[in-house]
């Protein structure tokens, strides 16, 4: 914030909706001279517009000190409390003020928060002690519970988080960041008498978070509902196999919050339990399959003992001098109980009449792609990453680290033989 007084002219566009007229609503433009931006809040701006320009402007506020949570609006695209947003902290230029998203608009900037509080209801957002104590319970400030809950009890139910969360818009049964944060603070509370019921209720409505972190970004109390949500999801993972007594929940829940329909809970709980088991089960099977496959492919070749053998390539006479010929060799290998025939190409190059027969492995020395002989270029080429080799096997270009591999070779009865390891 600047120390100097910041005098400015600002164009303020405010969303207007008149229930008597209906329609989509529109923006009204007001030109304001602001004496000192660093001590002017959006709430001041709205009050001035109401007093000096248009007395019919509707908006909500009460405490003016970020305590009541009634003045949440969208300022320049981000949710904020009108009373806490200082004009000097906004970018230069035009200011737009809009009602919160995802709530029906009653008039101008005033929205109906009913959907928000219905979700709080569903999450049993009140404290019910497990034991009736006469003295306050003692929870040490550095206990794990207290440190995890931190300042997350500071929520003022302004609805900014839900307005910023696109998932709250797309998923009707999603409880939304606000209600879930409240549930989080209660779930962690060791005095909580409704732990299991609460957990059962929030679990059915906590999976639609996509970690956008918009809620964390906008919360005026610097709460991170995302963190609360993740914590609840972890509780869900921990409790995946815990038996939740459905009948019990039903009874207690009706007793406690009669207004919330009970049918909504029971099928959800069993469905959730079913789904979490299926997910875990499938996950397990896939993990075992992949793990097994990886172990098999990496260990088995190392364990196998293969007798080395001499494999016939062809008659010496079939290879004219000075020419590279590609021929397939094939032989049988035995892997444990499994026997198969391996067929692969090799390159044969005969330098002179008498001897000097070279048989190259057709695998590229880079990442083992199969090479091919290009008779026009007189080069061995690799398609994978552009490796090139001279007829004598030396690297001409590309990433291969060394010359082509050669087979140990011998000639017996006019036949060329190579040794396969």
């Amino acid at each position: 914030m600047s120390e100097k007084t910041r005098k400015s002219k600002r164009v303020v566009k405010v969303f207007r909706y008149d229930p008597a007229v209906g329609g989509d609503g529109h923006f009204d433009r007001f030109d304001l001279d602001i004496e000192d931006e660093s001590i002017t809040t959006i709430l001041d701006v709205l009050l001035r517009i109401q007093r000096e320009h248009d007395s019919s402007l509707g908006f909500r506020y009460s405490c003016r000190i970020s305590m009541c949570g009634s003045c949440g609006v969208v300022v320049n695209g981000n949710e904020a409390l009108a009373c806490q947003t200082v004009v000097a902290n906004l970018k230069e230029g035009e200011i737009t003020i809009r009602p919160l998203n995802h709530f029906p608009v009653i008039r101008d900037l005033v929205v109906d928060m009913d959907p928000f509080f219905k979700n709080f209801d569903k999450a049993l957002s009140f404290f019910e002690p497990a034991e009736k104590l006469k003295e306050p319970a003692i929870i040490s400030p550095d206990s794990k519970e207290r440190r995890l809950i931190a300042d997350y009890t500071e929520c003022i139910t302004c609805g900014c988080c839900v307005s910023s969360c696109t998932m709250a818009n797309w998923h009707e049964d999603y409880l939304g960041p606000g209600a879930l944060n409240r549930a989080f603070t209660l779930l962690l509370d060791s005095r909580d008498g409704l732990h299991d019921e609460r957990l059962a209720r929030v679990l059915s409505g906590c999976y639609n978070c996509r970690t956008e972190l918009n809620c964390t970004e906008v919360c005026p109390k610097e709460i991170s509902p995302t963190r609360s949500l993740k914590y609840i999801q972890m509780l869900a993972a921990k409790n995946a196999f815990k038996k939740v007594d459905v009948v019990d929940i039903e009874d207690k829940a009706t007793e406690i919050a009669t207004e919330v329909p009970v049918e909504a809970i029971t099928p959800e709980v069993s469905r959730r339990r079913f789904l979490s088991r299926i997910t875990l089960g499938l996950g397990g099977i896939i993990a075992v399959l992949i793990g097994g496959l990886m172990a098999a492919t990496s260990l088995v070749p190392a364990m196998r003992k293969r007798a080395e053998k001499w494999v016939k390539v062809g008659k010496v006479d079939a290879f004219p001098v000075g020419i590279v010929k590609t021929v397939p060799i094939s032989y049988r290998v035995k892997d444990g109980i499994y026997e198969s025939t391996v067929t692969k190409p090799v390159f044969v190059y005969r330098e002179s009449d008498s001897d000097g027969i070279t048989v190259f492995n057709s695998r590229c020395t880079h990442l083992a792609c199969v090479l091919h002989w290009d008779d026009n270029k007189k080069l061995f080429l690799c398609d994978c990453h552009g490796g090139q080799f001279y007829p004598d096997g030396r690297v001409k270009a590309g990433p291969p680290p060394r010359a082509m591999d050669r087979y140990p070779t011998k000639v017996e009865n006019g036949n060329i033989l190579v040794r396969e390891a």
Binding site: P19, D24, T211, L213, N214, E217, T226
Partner: protein, 113 residues
């Protein structure tokens, strides 16, 4: 309630609806989320091309790039999911992991070529 029924509400505004400033002010967390979804689609497309036209360096490059990107953003979510990193560091996570991703990318690419 009775009174409410007489008032004609405007249906809830959506994010960005009638809001010229929304996208300009979209925060990094949401971009990270959006780009991870976009990179997922890109991977499907590049993987398809890669399988039909193998060994084209350009395609390999793009595929590796999108995969790296996707992995980096996915790791970020996993770290927060399990409470390993506090969500208040989410912005630093994007930058830090992106840097790590670039380093990994270079190492892998140099390894191939």
């Amino acid at each position: 309630m009775e009174q409410n029924e007489k008032i004609q509400y405007r249906s809830p505004l959506r994010r960005g609806e009638l809001d010229p400033n929304r996208w300009r002010n979209t925060q990094i967390g949401m971009w990270a989320w959006l780009w991870q979804r976009i990179s997922a689609l890109a991977i499907i497309i590049f993987l398809g091309i890669h399988l039909t036209l193998p060994y084209r360096p350009l395609i390999q490059f793009l595929l590796l790039l999108t995969v790296t990107f996707h992995v980096v953003l996915g790791l970020r979510v996993i770290l927060m999911d399990f409470g390993i990193v506090h969500t208040k560091y989410q912005k630093a996570l994007v930058g830090g992991l992106a840097a790590l991703g670039i380093v990994m990318f270079i190492i892998v690419w140099m390894g191939i070529y």
